[in-house]
Symmetry: C2
Amino acid sequence: MKSDIENKCIEKGVRLTEQRKLVAKIMSESHDHPDVDELHKRVSKFDSKISIATVYRTVKLFEEAGIISKHDFKGTKARYEQASHEHHDHLIDINTGEITEFVNQDIERLQEKVAEKLGYKLIDHRLELYGSKIKK
Amino acid sequence: MKSDIENKCIEKGVRLTEQRKLVAKIMSESHDHPDVDELHKRVSKFDSKISIATVYRTVKLFEEAGIISKHDFKGTKARYEQASHEHHDHLIDINTGEITEFVNQDIERLQEKVAEKLGYKLIDHRLELYGSKIKK
DNA sequence: ATAATTGCAAATGCTTTGCTTGTGA
DNA sequence: TCACAAGCAAAGCATTTGCAATTAT
């Protein structure tokens, strides 16, 4: 059956090819934040001839359609995740690279306030926490 | 006389060359957030033979010594500013690229709390607001 | 003196693109 | 059918690096 992302492509009128369906499927099933290289590795298991240029073009296309999100965390290549309904931010483990998602409405509200106070309408933001696990 | 950054270099035992002194001087006097290209342009007015490779090496050196800070804002090349005593975050005007610095202790505190709740010690963070000016 | 730094150009790493062939609606 | 997409290799862009010549301590 069709993957989540494939359905969103149909919704948005994004033309589907075999390669795009495959990237859609893999991204739909990935619950981490793979970079393009990793994504290319994953799709290559199902289509050994898919070009990395196609993967680059596809993630860009999906991102521009608002179907997936791109993140440029410090010191890493661009990573992608399925765009989710609820907005969230990220905490990155500086030792392992592990990513935890979180939502904090208080911070969200304060950001708007800060922007407003400075005479701006908040359009977008980036909040990343970098930390190390506390052993208990 | 010696620039702020030049003094910090002496403090930290960073070897000073003519080129480094010049970059130090320009960065000390710059109250914006120039990228390497812009910085190279500015120092070239005083030393037309300075290589951009040297500028790259110098900002990297200063950054590793904690004397200047590097920022990778969305969709731009790396930009630098003199490391300042008080921590602050940035609001970027999405239309003009203009940068406004701000501090918000409530947000800072909440970030620590979020990290803690997730089992992490907060080591570093990145908070950037992207907005457009409200015309009044 | 001599270990570190410069300038240059070549190399790098990630990402994009031109072009020819293939393909989805 | 035929505008658009894929694959390949080449190009692009920011940044780094090897090497021979120069310089700071």
